[in-house]
């Protein structure tokens, strides 16, 4: 059996004080693999991404998450990020007044400090940033704008993928990164994600529709329903779901 990057075991979680959303979710992601998580609305996809990122307001009531053999849930939001966990937001947050270029350099240097690498000076940073911008076909002028402020939906998602390219995370979690994108933006984002595949890097692609999976081929597809993984298949499962919907899997489950 290959080495596991992420092992989620019997995870139960809820929005603080609310009803349970994840109800015994188990999933293993080997090093170097890309898995897709699909499921209907309300199945717990976004909750899973927030629990993995450590968002406040979500409570894990039981179960465990091991990241490289360590207890991920014991780490703070920013410790997780510096350790190589990256969440691409479904709705990236606009932060007026914080310049995107300054922000990108700060986050890259925070990650590099964690890895024991020296800080990049502004010139070295610009070189990296321009490569990453080119990959997602964003103009360099966006470095001067405030983080995500006034960006179109497509620009926001490209900016997420651009950050991913800069930070080179060990585990990327893409939360509905394909939602709200036109065909061209989808292709750019898909190619960006595909380019980030590597032997030491893994990703969870959380998606409602299989469109992104036409550009990124996952090693496995998990179907989430009512807070649990109810079915796991090969990449071809995505197409099957598009044709047949979720009913045939979920119906048998309960």
């Amino acid at each position: 059996m290959s080495e596991m990057l992420l092992e989620i075991k019997d995870l139960h979680a809820r929005v603080a004080g609310g009803a349970e959303i994840l109800k015994g979710l188990s999933l293993s992601l080997p090093v170097g693999e890309v898995h897709a998580i699909m499921g209907p609305n309300g199945s717990g996809k976004s909750t899973l991404s927030y629990v993995l990122a450590g968002r406040e307001g979500y409570e894990v009531t039981s179960g465990s998450v091991l990241y490289r053999g360590e207890d991920l849930l014991a780490m703070s939001i920013d410790e997780r990020a510096r350790a190589g966990v990256f969440l691409a937001f479904q709705y990236p947050v606009e932060i007026p007044g914080v310049q995107n270029g300054y922000f990108l350099r700060a986050i890259l240097n925070a990650r590099r400090a964690h890895l024991g690498l020296p800080e990049l000076n502004p010139v070295e940073f610009m070189k990296r940033a321009k490569e990453a911008l080119q990959m997602v076909k964003l103009d360099a002028s966006m470095l001067k704008r405030s983080v995500n402020e006034g960006f179109s939906g497509g620009e926001k998602k490209r900016n997420e993928v651009m950050q991913m390219a800069l930070l080179e995370p060990t585990l990327s979690v893409l939360d509905e990164t394909d939602s709200g994108l036109d065909i061209d933006a989808l292709r750019v984002v898909g190619q960006g994600v595909e380019a980030l595949k590597g032997p030491a890097r893994s990703a969870l692609i959380i998606t409602h529709f299989p469109r992104l999976l036409e550009h990124v081929t996952p090693h496995k597809v998990h179907v989430l329903s009512a807070g649990r993984v109810v079915h796991t298949g090969e990449a071809s499962l995505a197409r099957e779901l598009e044709e047949r919907g979720y009913e045939w899997l979920i119906g048998g489950e309960r």
């Binding site: 990122a53 450590g54 968002r55 406040e56 703070s76 939001i77 920013d78 997780r80 990020a81 510096r82 990256f86 969440l87 937001f89 990236p92 947050v93 606009e94 932060i95 007026p96 007044g97 914080v98 922000f103 700060a106 986050i107 925070a110 990650r111 964690h114 405030s146 983080v147 950050q163 930070l167």
Partner: protein, 459 residues
């Protein structure tokens, strides 16, 4: 210098007579009456800021040390005990002394002392001005001749002599200084004026502990008047004459034990423009009044400020803008960032005279509260006697955006770094206006203090 620039609408200043220093007993009596009666009592204008209670009844007068740089065509003189050491004796603060110094600078005859320039009326009714008129210790006079350009940067530091170790901190400041700066810009002149108020090193050390023992209580009271003549541009107590232009920066970062009182009056003649940026960052209680008279047609005032509170500071900014002539424009953008158990008070009064048609005035006062215990008070006051105006105002009180903080942390920045980025972004619009590295540094230090400020003041 035309009489029309004098606002007919404000209440007359209590003490505008040419006031040579009173003989000591009479001065003491007049000061005592002002301080006790009422000048700083709990009036509407001082509702949230107990200046009267904070002021000492008896105190020792000090002369602040003044570091001054003047460039370009700006000419500087002084009167009284304000003492850059490179200047030998100067005339005392009397009407004759002030007139003689204006004449020595080559400036036109000025109004008598009490209004060092034509800008005094913009501060009409201020008890601080009345007090300063009675007994200012010293003043700097700045003149920029018509059509010329100059720059003046002043740093005031109050060196409070070390008191013998006392078991308990004094309840009120025991030492202080009353100072002024009066600037006048001739027609078409441009002035950049920067005033910084800082603590002495020793007191600054105590600042880090937020009022720990050892800090010497003191107060500063400083008036800045600028008269901009037509088309001139001014910054500080500046009298802007026709068409003149002023760029003014005022940064107050006194030690926590201090009381800081400031008043800035600007009078704008036709076509004159003033751009003023005020940082209110230090002292235990800081009250800064800004009075601007848009007295000539087409004058413009672009005013912005940041007040950044930590510990138990009370930071009060009190603006009075008077649109007295047609087609003048004003903007006020004041941002409060408050931590610890600090208080911020913003009062922005806009008066539009019956004849001031075509007035445009906008005002905004967003506040960001970064602790449980801090509070902000925002008081927009519009008084409009003309139908042909566009006035807007907006005040908000909010907290750090948790969504934005989560986003920053999810990228590996610690909560502390994320909060700093968001705080800097909040006041960034104001700080971007500063061209003075010293003022920028004071702002950065104040932001760090506000974000690290404990909920309870140190014992």
């Amino acid at each position: 210098m035309s009489p029309s620039r004098r606002a007919p609408l404000a209440p007359p200043r209590p003490l505008t007579a040419a006031a040579p220093l009173l003989p000591p007993p009479a001065l003491a009596a007049a000061e005592g009456a002002l301080l006790a009666s009422g000048g700083f009592g709990k009036t509407e204008a001082l509702w949230y800021t107990p200046v009267g209670e904070a002021l000492p009844r008896e105190f020792v007068r000090l002369s602040p040390s003044v570091a001054l740089e003047a460039r370009g065509a700006a000419r500087v003189a002084r009167v009284g005990a304000l003492s850059p050491e490179r200047w030998p004796a100067s005339p005392p603060v009397t009407a004759a002394g002030v007139s003689a110094q204006w004449a020595a600078l080559g400036a036109p005859a000025a109004p008598p002392l009490g209004a060092l320039t034509g800008a005094g009326a913009a501060l009409g009714g201020s008890a601080l001005c009345a007090w300063s008129d009675l007994s200012a210790d010293g003043a700097l006079l700045v003149w920029v001749p018509p059509g010329e350009e100059g720059e003046v940067r002043v740093v005031y530091t109050l060196d409070v002599p070390a008191a013998p170790a006392a078991p308990a901190a004094p309840a009120a400041p025991a030492t202080g200084a009353l100072t002024r700066l009066a600037a006048r810009c001739g027609e078409g002149a441009r002035l950049t004026l920067v005033e910084r108020f800082e603590g002495a090193e020793g007191a600054e050390g105590a600042e880090g502990a937020e009022g720990a023992e050892g800090a010497e209580a003191a107060f500063t009271a400083h008036i800045t008047e600028v008269e901009l003549q037509a088309g001139a541009d001014l910054t500080t107590e500046v009298e802007l004459q026709a068409g003149a232009a002023l760029t003014y920066t005022r940064a107050q970062s006194a030690p926590l034990a201090h009381l800081h009182l400031g008043a800035v009056g600007v009078a704008l003649a036709a076509g004159a423009g003033a751009r003023a940026t005020l940082l209110n960052l230090g002292a235990r209680l800081a009250r800064v009044e800004l009075g601007v008279d848009l007295a000539g047609e087409g004058a413009r005032a672009d005013l912005a400020g940041a007040f950044v509170g930590s510990g138990a500071r009370l930071l009060d900014q009190h603006l009075t803008l008077r649109h007295l002539a047609p087609r003048c424009e004003s903007a006020q953008r004041f941002k409060g960032l408050l931590g610890g158990v600090s208080r911020g008070v913003f009062t922005g009064r806009v008066y539009v005279a019956p004849g001031a048609s075509g007035t445009r005035a906008e005002q905004s006062n967003p506040n960001l509260i970064v602790s449980e215990g801090a509070r902000a008070v925002s008081r927009p006051q519009l008084e409009i006697y003309n139908d042909d105006v566009q006035c807007s105002h907006g005040a908000t009180v909010g907290q750090l955006d948790e969504e934005a903080l989560f986003y920053l942390r999810s990228r590996g920045l610690t909560r502390a770094v994320g909060e700093r980025l968001l705080a800097e972004a909040f006041v960034g619009e104001v700080l971007e206006r500063l061209d003075d590295p010293g003022a920028q540094q004071l702002a950065a230090e104040a932001l760090a203090r506000a974000l690290a400020s404990p909920e309870e003041p140190a014992q």
